[in-house]
Symmetry: C2
Subunit: 422 residues, 2 copies
């Protein structure tokens, strides 16, 4: 059992509990309360710092770390077709394994304890999760070019019982890359398993316009009409939505996962989070992949989520930090159906320690506002996933030497550049 | 003499020099070149990491650290009148000294080596700069309520020769807080000393509208017509500009200092940086004060500067990272007239070391893009100002124990809250 003491604890209502301690047994929070005697493997003096639930990265593409700072300053369609796809064509499953581990290292160093991860090598990501101990919910990535509804079903059955830090959700890439017949098959799968379905949706104006041209309706309407959304699910980006779309998202209990940094960087626009929030739609936050962000930092995303809403609505009170933290911690857990949404006895031990002992957190007028408005990766003192410490004070415990991992990923990147003649 | 070796060096063109070393003697860069023999006080093995010029924070209000996370989610006018002013009324010069040191700690931990600092206790900031060793250009803050043109002139003469890390520039708060008679006196001072003048300008739509109502012209036009801009200077924020304003800014060789995080947080809008850049106006970047941001991180500002331009122009190629880094390093130095704009022999030794050995910087496809698109304070391994190391691997060397400083600033904040009945 691990004992955290001399800590502040962020409770379920985002209030701060003082003078309590938190114990972890195996992968679970065993006890939160006043000090009492027990036997511990390890006792961690938090020195007054804050324990809180880890951030949930509700949309990413981990293996794309090799494309960081490789294809920048281009709009989404040119970025994908001219730069990303030719490089991805040379990526092997073995490459994706190492590149996913690099992402996991970045995640845990920034207080992210789980990710909803969509890529065409689910096995590589699952193996990386097993090696590192990082919690991963794989998202199906079916489209016209990779995978199929049959493979999706196989993956669904395989990865939902492969290990206790990996799960799998039905999913496809997006409307603009997936034929209607495939979408119909995915809807059938969803009904067969009563399972939610996730996908990219309404990221750019062009995507929505072309969907309307093709099908006479928006992507959200199309997914709804095909029965894809009957068991909920998550839709990623959702930048360009009609009022009708928003009503459907609420009615179908869909989680909208916003990716503000990516939407800025690819000039896609600002998602209407305040409107969605007012309509009662559940919101979560993701970093998107490292090629379109380019960091994998939930601090960045949290700040952007609220800052861009203030710009969009011309209202400085839009999307307050308490709401943003709920998106980043609790709603992301919902999107991945994980029992790690808050710090409570019986919850999974996905815990981070926020180092308040840095100038950007001083003075402490309001801890939640400090985290959202001035926090950064430098404030992550410790990251625990499933009861195991994967990151502590700059050191990684992810089943692979970090320097060797950097070197391996650099080699992979150089080889792919050479092979794709870029 | 201090020797940095085994480093990459970002040169004047933002190209990377490999296999060179950099020597610092007293407060100056003495040598950049191949290894050769000499005697050194200290030799620093950079382990392949990057040396680059420090970031220049071209607009801030350091003593406002006590208001971090205190007054959030309000528009500028209510934020100022209801929350900020009543608290500031209780602030003493001694308080401002400690609070400025806290800002300096945050600056150096984020790779900022100098700041253009506007506040009504210049002496407190100057003393904090002397204690910490941080480089500060004070900016006059005259308005109807504090200081006067006479005091401004005294400050100008006093602080431009008080020590080698402190300078002073003529300045006033802004049009909306300063009567025309005072503005005229400041114009006369500017002409007397042939000195540039700096001020807040066109931050909100309301400010511009009210200026037009009062004077029949925009703040930029008014300053120009009064002769305030005849020797250049810096204007802070510049969110709401007409084409005529932009032409004047170019003609008068004024540096526009953008504060994107603050402009988001107070819902002021997005400054038209791409339009300004195309018109040939010099751009620099500032964090603004910690009450309106709330971090003091140039990494955040750099990312926002480019990300918001991509949103505003709907063009993913807007304001590329190379341009942003020029704003953050070179143009900020110009705004403060400091000889620290790049790493070259004879330049002031205001140097930072970027830790590339973190997941967010891997792989290294492009160092400049990595810094702007995925960098964060966690990548600052070392910060040197005026030849002295003020921050290294998490440790501060700022003439005051950091824990004692946090405690002191917390006490000040609590006292002021009590006194202002907030």
């Amino acid at each position: 059992m691990i004992r955290f003491h001399n800590c502040k604890i962020l409770d379920d209502n985002f209030d701060i509990i003082e003078n309590n301690e938190l114990w972890v047994e195996n992968n679970t929070i065993k006890y939160i309360g006043e000090a009492k005697d027990s036997l511990f493997e390890r006792e961690i003096d938090c020195k007054g710092n804050l324990l809180m639930p880890g951030f949930k990265n509700a949309h990413t593409h981990s293996p794309m770390t090799f494309l960081r700072s490789y294809a920048d300053d281009l709009p989404l369609d040119r970025w994908l077709n001219e730069m990303i796809f030719p490089m991805e064509a040379k990526l092997t499953e073995d490459d994706a394994y190492y590149l996913s581990m690099l992402a996991a290292a970045e995640f845990v160093s920034g207080g992210i304890t789980s990710a909803f991860d969509m890529y065409f090598y689910p096995n590589a990501i699952a193996e990386a999760a097993k090696t590192t101990g990082f919690r991963t919910t794989l998202c199906g990535a079916v489209n016209n070019f990779t995978s199929s509804p049959e493979e999706l079903e196989k993956d669904f059955e395989k990865y939902n019982c492969c290990c206790d830090t990996v799960t799998f959700r039905l999913g496809f890439h997006g409307e603009y890359t997936t034929d209607i017949s495939i979408l119909k098959d995915i809807a059938s799968l969803s009904h067969k398993y009563k399972a939610p379905v996730s996908a990219h949706c309404s990221e750019t104006e062009k995507e929505v316009d072309q969907c309307i041209q093709r099908h006479g309706k928006s992507p959200v309407e199309l997914f709804c009409d095909l029965g894809i959304s009957d068991f909920g699910g998550s839709l990623f980006h959702c930048v360009h939505l009609s009022e009708r779309d928003i009503a459907i998202l609420k009615e179908k209990d869909i989680t909208v996962v916003t990716n503000p940094a990516s939407n800025c960087k690819l000039a896609s626009g600002i998602a209407p989070l305040s409107r969605l929030d007012k309509a009662g739609v559940r919101l979560a936050i993701g970093t998107d992949g490292p090629a379109s962000n380019n960091a994998l930092s939930m601090f960045r995303e949290m700040y952007l989520a609220t800052a861009l809403q203030k710009i969009q609505t011309k209202d400085a009170s839009a999307l307050v930090p308490e709401k943003v933290l709920e998106m980043a911690c609790r709603n992301g857990a919902y999107a991945m159906s994980s029992n790690n949404d808050c710090l409570k006895e019986g919850k999974l031990a996905d815990i981070i320690m926020i180092d308040m002992d840095k100038p950007n957190m001083q003075p402490v007028n309001n801890i939640v506002k400090n985290i959202v408005y001035s926090g950064g990766n430098e404030n992550i003192a410790l990251t625990m996933v499933n009861g195991k410490i994967l990151y502590e004070k700059g050191n990684f415990f992810i089943g692979e030497d970090i320097e060797r991992l950097y070197k391996k990923c650099a080699q992979i990147t150089e080889r792919i550049k050479k092979e794709s003649n870029n």
